[in-house]
């Protein structure tokens, strides 16, 4: 190894989890965030995956399952970490005019913040506060373009490389106050049936890892009313809204969705769509 790697790798700090863990640890120290609170992200996403025939892990898990799973890099348990999978995803972006003639109902882009960085990108820990991630700098761009506020969003898709990344981003984009992410993700708000479900496909923690693109696709499905769950009439937009295992994962009346993308703590992107 050489170059900037010399600042971390000789000390056994190389993987994504190892890179991010001091950020998560500092958040626990500053705000009193607990492992049990953050485990609710996995619980919610596993609930959503149980409604997704294409998800890799479809079993629902409990908070006890998460905090009882083996240590990877303290404070990260095995179930705080995402899957590693090979799969493919694609999006088609075109003009609204062209989209009118397509077979599928289009959804519309309201705002985009592409690759927004914290002021220093070399090392996240070299630039304070280390509990702040790129979303802090992206939120005014994307909400400004869309002309909406966090409260107007019905469904979120927050990058879940780890349970903690989802929580940090929901905070930075203003879905709760900074430091209250632990309460927000453990309140039921982010689960199907809650006020603002997050990652309704099960996403990186349970569905499969696609660097955030599958979460955009899922939000497109939500906005079309065509989530491919176990409801026999999903393609025609017929859903039961029964969120018990193996049933529905369509959010009722989803009008506006938001994707919160993550590259590293200091780099991110965001997307707001409507139907």
């Amino acid at each position: 190894m050489r170059g900037l790697d010399l600042a971390q790798v000789p000390f056994g700090m190389r993987s994504a989890g190892q890179n991010f863990a001091p950020t998560f640890m500092r958040h626990m120290y500053e705000y009193g965030t607990t492992s049990e609170q953050v485990a609710h992200v996995r619980v919610a996403h596993s609930k959503h995956a149980s409604q997704n025939p294409k998800a890799f892990l479809r079993d629902r898990v409990t908070v006890a399952d998460v905090v009882g799973s083996r240590w990877i890099c303290k404070q990260l348990h095995l179930l705080d970490c995402c899957l590693e999978t090979d799969n493919a995803t694609a999006l088609i972006v075109t003009s609204a005019e062209r989209a009118r003639n397509l077979r599928r109902k289009p959804v519309y882009i309201m705002g985009v913040a592409g690759r927004v960085n914290k002021p220093r990108t070399d090392f996240h820990w070299a630039h304070g506060p280390i509990t702040r991630v790129a979303g802090y700098h992206a939120k005014d761009i994307v909400f400004g373009q869309a002309g909406i506020k966090p409260d107007d969003v019905n469904v979120t898709g927050s990058y879940d490389a780890f349970t903690f990344t989802t929580m940090l981003q929901l905070e930075e984009y203003g879905f709760c106050k900074k430091g209250e992410g632990g309460q927000y993700v453990s309140s039921g708000t982010i689960e199907l049936g809650g006020k603002r479900p997050n990652n309704t496909s099960g996403s990186h923690l349970c569905e499969g890892y696609t660097h955030g693109i599958s979460m955009v696709i899922e939000n497109v499905r939500q906005l079309r009313g065509q989530v491919d769950d176990y409801c026999p009439g999903w393609e025609d937009g017929k859903h039961s809204y029964d969120y018990s295992p193996g049933k529905c994962r369509q959010v009722k009346d989803a009008r506006i969705t938001m994707n919160l993308g993550w590259a590293m703590p200091p780099t991110g992107s965001a997307l707001i769509m409507r139907n």
């Binding site: 050489r2 700090m13 190389r14 001091p22 240590w71 090392f123 070299a126």
Partner: protein, 168 residues
């Protein structure tokens, strides 16, 4: 090109990498932690970049610091992904905030350095002894005639603010 073997890894420092070559060489020669300081704005930085991250000036000098600090954050690796670290698990990676230049140039900034928390024998400190706020000082592990790896070890000083350890 210098190459130092450490825990099964090759730490490679090409001739044109003056930043790291001097960083590790000065650590070996003086057993003091030296940081690059901007001669335009006077602020130090780490890692030892060529340009000043605060004012962009390309003029700098090496400046010694005391090597004292406290643990700002940390992690304990149980599942090592680098083969050379497997026999070290569980080991702590610490983010040390140095005593110099705290709160500058903004209240959130400080000189922060990644290292392992080690015993005086350069073994990993047991995780029960690792906590945010605990005081540490730099120690140098000599790996080659022109290369020492800065690590940190606990001191007896009282903790900086509230000492906090991850519960579990």
């Amino acid at each position: 090109m210098a190459s130092v073997e450490y825990r099964g890894m090759n730490l490679v420092i090409p001739e044109n990498d003056s930043e790291w070559r001097e960083h590790f060489k000065l650590a070996r020669a003086n057993h003091r932690l030296m940081l690059r300081a901007c001669t335009a704005c006077g602020l130090m930085r780490y890692p030892p970049s060529h340009g000043c991250p605060w004012c962009m000036s390309l003029e700098w000098e090496w400046k010694p610091v005391s090597g004292g600090g406290h643990i700002y954050s940390y992690e304990v690796v149980h599942h090592a992904i680098q083969p050379g670290f497997k026999e070290w698990t569980p080991y702590a990676v610490v983010l040390v905030e140095l005593d110099e230049q705290r709160g500058a140039p903004t209240p959130d900034e400080a000189l922060r350095v990644i290292a392992n928390l080690v015993t005086p024998e350069f073994r990993p400190e047991p995780e029960a002894n690792v906590a945010i706020g605990k005081r540490v000082r730099v120690v140098f592990q000599d790996l080659a005639p022109d290369f020492a790896l800065p690590q940190f070890t606990l001191t007896d000083e009282p903790a900086e603010g509230r000492a906090w350890r991850f519960p579990g």
